[in-house]
C-alpha cells in the first residue's frame, strides 16, 4: 500500500492522523486479549483460556441481560422515531411556524445529558419513591405503585425521549433530500396514492429511516447512563450495566476476563451492525445523488392543525426535558425526596448545599474544565490531519483512514472506556502511569469525538478548492504557512463550531467518566453519579442543578458560533 503522499514525501500529518487510529485498535484489541486470559493479568501467572466465554455463556444471567437489552433497545428506537420522525416531517414538509424554535428545542434536547433526565424520571415514576406512584397509592389506597419506570421498556421510553432529537436530525436530512417531484411524477403517471406510497415514497425513504433505526439501536444497546441511574438500584441489568457490575463488583475481586468476554460479545454485535449500517447508508446516498439539488418542495399548509402540531412538540419538550429537570431542581432544595406539594414548598432550603462535599465538586469541576480545553484541541488537530489526508491525497490508504475515523461513530464509547481501563491497568501500568489521570479519560474522548469532527472537516475541506492552497505554495508559502494563512482562516467557522460542540459533549459525558473515574480524576458528571450511586439523591440533585446553571452560558456560545454546521453534520 502506498502511504498518503504529498509531493512525493510521506506527509508529516500522517503520524497525527494515525495516532487516534492506533488508540482505537489498542482499546478494542486489549478487550479481546483480556477475554482470553485467566489468572493475574499482565503477570507470569496468567494464561490463555476459553474459560471466560464458557463462564459467561454458561451463566443464565447473561440471557436475561440480552433479553433486557433487546427490549430496551427496541423501545428506544420505537419511542425515538415515533417522536422524532413526525417532528422532522413537520419542519421539512409543512408550513408550521417557528421552525427555528423547533431546531433549538431539538438541539438542546441532544445536549441535555440523559443522566439528568433519568434522575428526574426516577423521581416521577420509580415504583417506590416515584411521585406518580405516591399520588396513585394515596389516592386509591393501593399497596404498590402501579407505574414502574425501572423496566427495560420504561427505561427505553426515557432513552427514546432522549434520542428523539437524534431521530429528528437523521430524518430531516432525508425529508430535505427527497424530492416531492418524484412522488408527483408517480401520481401523474397514473399511480394511486397508496401505490405511490408503496412503490415510490417508502423505497426512497427506506434506507434513510433504516439507517436511523440501526444507528439508534446501536446507541441503544450500549446506553449506560439511563439504565444505570434507573435500573441498577432495582437490579434490572442491561449489557452496559452488567458490564459495570462485572468490572466494579461490590463484594469481590473483579474478574476482568469475564468483562472482556462480555465486551467481545458487544464488539461483535456492534461491528455487525456497523457493517449493515454502512451498507444502508451507501444505498441511501445513491438515491440522494439522483434527487436533491435545486428544487423547492411544496410545503403542506397545516392551517388550524398548526396548534395541534405545536402542542405535540411542547408536550414532548415538557415530558422529555423540562419536567424531569425541574424536579431535579426541586429536589436539590428539598429536605428529602418527596412529591412537590404546598407543605414541601415551605420546607425548601439551602441545607443540601451544606451537605455537598465541595472539595470533591471543585476537583470534578477542575478536571471537567481541563478536559473541555484539551479534548477539543486534540480532536481538532487529529481530525484536521485525517480530513486533509482523506480529501487532498490520492493514496488508497485514505480509505483506511476514513474507515478508522468512522468506526468510533458506531462502536459504543462504553467499549472504548473498558478498553482504556484495561490498557491502563494491565498494559501500561509499569511504563506510563495513566490510570487515575484525566489524560486517560481525554484519550477516550479524543477517540469518541473524532468521527463528528472528521466528517465536519471533510465537508468543509471539500468546499475549499484545492487550488486555493496550491496558489499559496506557488506564491512561495511553505506548507505550514499556507495552512496558517490560507487554510485555517477559511476553515475557521467549521473549526469554531466543532470546537464548541465537542466541548459541550465533553462537559455532559457520563459513561466514560464513570468507568474511568477514581478519586484523583473524577469529573463533574462522575461526582453526580457517585452521589446517586451512594443513595445521595439530594446531593446529586444539587450538583446537577449547578451543572445545568453552568451549561447555559456554554449553550449561548454554541448558539452564537456553531449551530448551523453542527446540525448539518451530526
Amino acid at each position: 500500500m502506498r502511504l498518503p503522499r504529498f509531493n512525493g514525501q510521506v506527509s508529516p500529518l500522517l503520524p497525527v492522523a494515525l495516532a487516534p487510529m492506533a488508540l482505537v485498535a489498542v482499546f478494542i484489541l486489549v478487550i479481546v486479549w483480556v477475554s482470553f486470559q485467566s489468572g493475574t493479568l499482565g503477570t507470569v501467572h496468567s494464561s490463555y483460556t476459553l474459560e471466560n466465554y464458557h463462564d459467561v455463556l454458561g451463566d443464565s444471567a447473561i440471557y436475561g441481560v440480552i433479553w433486557n437489552t433487546l427490549w430496551f433497545a427496541f423501545s428506544t428506537v420505537f419511542f425515538a422515531l415515533i417522536i422524532g420522525l413526525p417532528i422532522a416531517w413537520l419542519t421539512e414538509r409543512t408550513t408550521i411556524p417557528g421552525k427555528a424554535a423547533i431546531y433549538v428545542i431539538m438541539t438542546l434536547g441532544l445536549l441535555i445529558p440523559g443522566i439528568f433526565v433519568a434522575m428526574g424520571w426516577t423521581f416521577i415514576a420509580h415504583p417506590r419513591i416515584g411521585f406518580i406512584n405516591r399520588w396513585l397509592v394515596d389516592l386509591f389506597a393501593l399497596d404498590n405503585g402501579p407505574v414502574n419506570i425501572a423496566t427495560p421498556m420504561g427505561m427505553g421510553f426515557v432513552q427514546g425521549m432522549n434520542l428523539a432529537p437524534l431521530a429528528f436530525i437523521l430524518t430531516t436530512q432525508m425529508f430535505r433530500a427527497m424530492n416531492p417531484m418524484l412522488e408527483e411524477a408517480a401520481r401523474t403517471a397514473g399511480m394511486s396514492a397508496t401505490a405511490t406510497l408503496r412503490r415510490v415514497t417508502l423505497p426512497l425513504a427506506g434506507p434513510a429511516i433504516l439507517a436511523a433505526v440501526i444507528y439508534i439501536f446501536i446507541v441503544g444497546i450500549a446506553t449506560f447512563d439511563i439504565p444505570a441511574v434507573i435500573g441498577l438500584g432495582n437490579r434490572v441489568y442491561l449489557f452496559s450495566t452488567y458490564l459495570f457490575t462485572l468490572t466494579f463488583p461490590e463484594d469481590m475481586e473483579p474478574r476482568y476476563g469475564i468483562t472482556g468476554a462480555v465486551g467481545v460479545l458487544m464488539i461483535v454485535v456492534a461491528l455487525v451492525l456497523t457493517a449493515w449500517y454502512g451498507r444502508v447508508l451507501q444505498r441511501g446516498n445513491r438515491y440522494q445523488v439522483i434527487t436533491g439539488k435545486g428544487y423547492r418542495p411544496k410545503m403542506l399548509d397545516l392551517g388550524g392543525w398548526n396548534w395541534a402540531a405545536w402542542g405535540m412538540i411542547a408536550v414532548y419538550a415538557l415530558i422529555s426535558k423540562l419536567v424531569p429537570i425541574a424536579l431535579v431542581g426541586f429536589i436539590a432544595f428539598a429536605p428529602y425526596v418527596a412529591p412537590p406539594s404546598l407543605e414541601m414548598w415551605e420546607q425548601l432550603s439551602l441545607n443540601n448545599f451544606y451537605n455537598v462535599n465541595w472539595e470533591l465538586v471543585w476537583r470534578g469541576m477542575k478536571h471537567t474544565l481541563i478536559l473541555m480545553f484539551v479534548v477539543p484541541l486534540a480532536v481538532m488537530v487529529c481530525a484536521f490531519a485525517i480530513s486533509w489526508l482523506v480529501v487532498r491525497t490520492r493514496s488508497r490508504g485514505r480509505y483506511a483512514l476514513e474507515f478508522g475515523a468512522f468506526l468510533p461513530h458506531t462502536v459504543p464509547e462504553l467499549l472504548f472506556a473498558i478498553g482504556a481501563l484495561l490498557v491502563a491497568l494491565f498494559v501500561l501500568k509499569d511504563y506510563v502511569p495513566l490510570y487515575g489521570t484525566v489524560w486517560l479519560i481525554a484519550l477516550v474522548y479524543l477517540v469518541t469525538r473524532l468521527p463528528f469532527a472528521t466528517r465536519a472537516l471533510n465537508g468543509a475541506l471539500l468546499q475549499i478548492h484545492k487550488e486555493l492552497e496550491e496558489a499559496a505554495y506557488v506564491s512561495g508559502l511553505t506548507m505550514l504557512r499556507a495552512s496558517r494563512r490560507v487554510l485555517l482562516p477559511l476553515l475557521r467557522p467549521t473549526l469554531m463550531s466543532v470546537w464548541i460542540w465537542t466541548a459541550l459533549l465533553v462537559y455532559r459525558e457520563v459513561t466514560v467518566a464513570v468507568f474511568l473515574a477514581t478519586e484523583s480524576n473524577i469529573t463533574l458528571t462522575a461526582v453526580v453519579w457517585s452521589y446517586w450511586a451512594a443513595a445521595g439523591m439530594t446531593e446529586a440533585s444539587v450538583v446537577t442543578t449547578l451543572m445545568i446553571l453552568f451549561f447555559s452560558p456554554l449553550l449561548l456560545l454554541f448558539w452564537i458560533f456553531g449551530r448551523r454546521s453542527a446540525l448539518a453534520e451530526d
Binding site: E467, A471, S475, G476, R481
Partner: protein, 358 residues
C-alpha cells in the same frame, strides 16, 4: 529558461493507469511566450503542474533557469514554494478571506521570496497598477467581477517578479468580449515584466494570437511545436489540421509526385516524398483558400450553393462540387442565392496532403 525532458506522468484511476503525459520534451527560451494547446484531457494542465511542482512526474526531468528542479530518477525535487515561478489558476484561486491588497501582498510577506517590509507596499501597488486594479485595494475579492478576480490572480502571480509565469486557461471563465480584451492585456503584461510564460489553453484562437510558439498536444504527446503561423499554415498531420482553424477534407489517391486523384478529379498539388503512387491520402484545404465566383464565366469546377452562414466580416458557404461538399469562406459583401451556380478555384498552394494512417 524552462527545459522539460522526457516528462512522463501516469495517474492511477479506477479504470487502470492513465498516461496523462506520455514522454514529452519542451524547451522554452527566456522571455518567450509558449502556449500549450490541445483538446480536453490531453495533459496540458498536468504538464503545467509538473513544472510548478504541484505534481511529481513519473519520469524525466525539469529545469527552470538552469537549475534542476525535478528529476524522477535522480530524486531531486524542489517544492513549489522554492521555485521561481508565478501561477494563475483556472479557478483564479484568489483567497476569499483577504482583500485585493492582502491577496497581492501575501507572497511578499509570507513567501520564500519575501522582500523587506518597507518595499512591500510599493511593489504591491506596482503590480496592481500593471493589471489596472489600482484604487480597488481595499475591496474584498469576493465582491469583484470575474475579470477583476482574474487580474488579482495575475497581479499576485507577478508580484514576486518570478522568472517563469505559468497560466492554466486563465481566460476560460470570462465572456467573449472580456476574453479578447484580457488577451491583449496578458500579452502586454507578460512583455512589460519580461517574464517567460507557459500558457495552457484549448482555444486555438487564443493560442495563435498569444503565443510566440505554440505546442499542440494530444493524448499526452506533442504533435507540433512551432510558431503560430507555421501551426496554421503547415499542420504536420490531420489532428493538428482539424484542431487548429477550419479545413475541408477529402479522400484521394496519389497519381505521381505532383498530382492526386480525388472526388474533384485530378488535382495538382505537392505530394510529400513518402507517398508512393497509388497510396491513399487525405487532402485538406482551408475555406479561405478556395476562390469562388458567381456564374459559369470563369474556368474551374462548377458547384451549387447549398447553405450559407453570415458571420459579419465574412460569409461561410457550403458548396456542392461534384460529390464533394466544400466550405468556402468569402470575404467582402458578395452574396449568393441558395442553389446558385458558382465556379470555385482551388489553388495548388492551398492544398495540404496527409498520408493515410496519421
Amino acid at each position: 529558461m524552462i527545459s522539460i525532458r522526457k516528462l512522463e506522468k501516469i495517474f492511477d484511476s479506477a479504470r487502470g493507469p492513465v498516461r496523462a503525459v506520455d514522454v514529452i520534451d519542451l524547451e522554452v527560451a527566456e522571455g518567450e511566450f509558449m502556449v500549450l494547446l490541445g483538446p480536453s484531457g490531453c495533459g496540458k494542465t498536468t504538464t503545467l503542474r509538473c513544472v510548478a511542482g504541484l505534481e511529481r512526474p513519473d519520469g524525466g526531468s525539469i529545469e527552470i533557469d538552469g537549475e534542476l528542479v525535478d528529476s524522477a530518477g535522480g530524486g531531486t525535487y524542489v517544492p513549489p514554494e522554492r521555485r521561481d515561478i508565478g501561477m494563475v489558476f483556472q479557478s483564479y484561486a484568489v483567497w476569499p478571506h483577504l482583500n485585493v491588497f492582502q491577496n497581492v501582498v501575501l507572497p511578499l510577506t509570507e513567501g520564500q521570496r519575501r522582500i523587506p517590509r518597507s518595499e512591500v507596499r510599493d511593489r504591491a501597488r506596482e503590480a496592481l497598477r500593471l493589471v489596472r486594479l489600482d484604487g480597488l485595494e481595499e475591496r474584498p475579492v469576493t465582491d469583484l467581477s470575474g475579470g477583476q478576480q482574474q487580474r488579482v490572480a495575475l497581479a499576485r502571480a507577478v508580484v514576486t517578479r518570478p522568472k517563469v509565469l505559468l497560466m492554466d486557461e486563465p481566460l476560460s471563465n470570462l465572456d467573449a468580449r472580456l476574453r479578447d480584451q484580457m488577451r491583449d492585456e496578458l500579452r502586454r503584461i507578460a512583455e512589460s515584466v519580461n517574464v517567460t510564460s507557459l500558457y495552457v489553453t484549448h482555444d486555438q484562437a487564443e493560442a495563435l494570437s498569444l503565443g510566440d510558439r505554440v505546442c499542440v498536444m494530444n493524448e499526452g504527446e506533442i504533435l507540433q511545436l512551432a510558431t503560430p503561423k507555421e501551426v496554421y499554415s503547415e499542420p504536420p498531420n490531420l489532428f493538428v489540421a482539424r484542431f487548429v482553424g477550419e479545413m475541408n477534407f477529402l479522400p484521394a489517391k496519389v497519381l505521381d509526385a505532383g498530382h492526386v486523384e480525388s472526388g474533384l478529379g485530378a488535382i495538382e498539388c505537392a505530394v510529400p516524398p513518402g507517398c508512393a503512387p497509388g497510396s491513399a491520402v487525405t487532402l485538406g484545404i482551408r475555406p479561405e483558400h478556395i476562390g469562388m465566383t458567381a456564374g459559369e464565366s470563369a474556368a474551374g469546377p462548377r458547384g451549387q450553393v447549398l447553405r450559407q452562414t453570415y458571420l459579419g466580416d465574412a460569409l461561410h458557404c457550403q458548396v456542392q462540387v461534384g460529390e464533394v461538399e466544400l466550405t468556402v469562406k468569402a470575404v467582402g459583401d458578395a452574396e449568393y442565392d441558395r442553389g446558385a451556380t458558382v465556379t470555385v478555384s482551388l489553388p495548388e498552394k492551398g492544398w495540404h496532403v496527409f498520408p493515410e494512417g496519421q
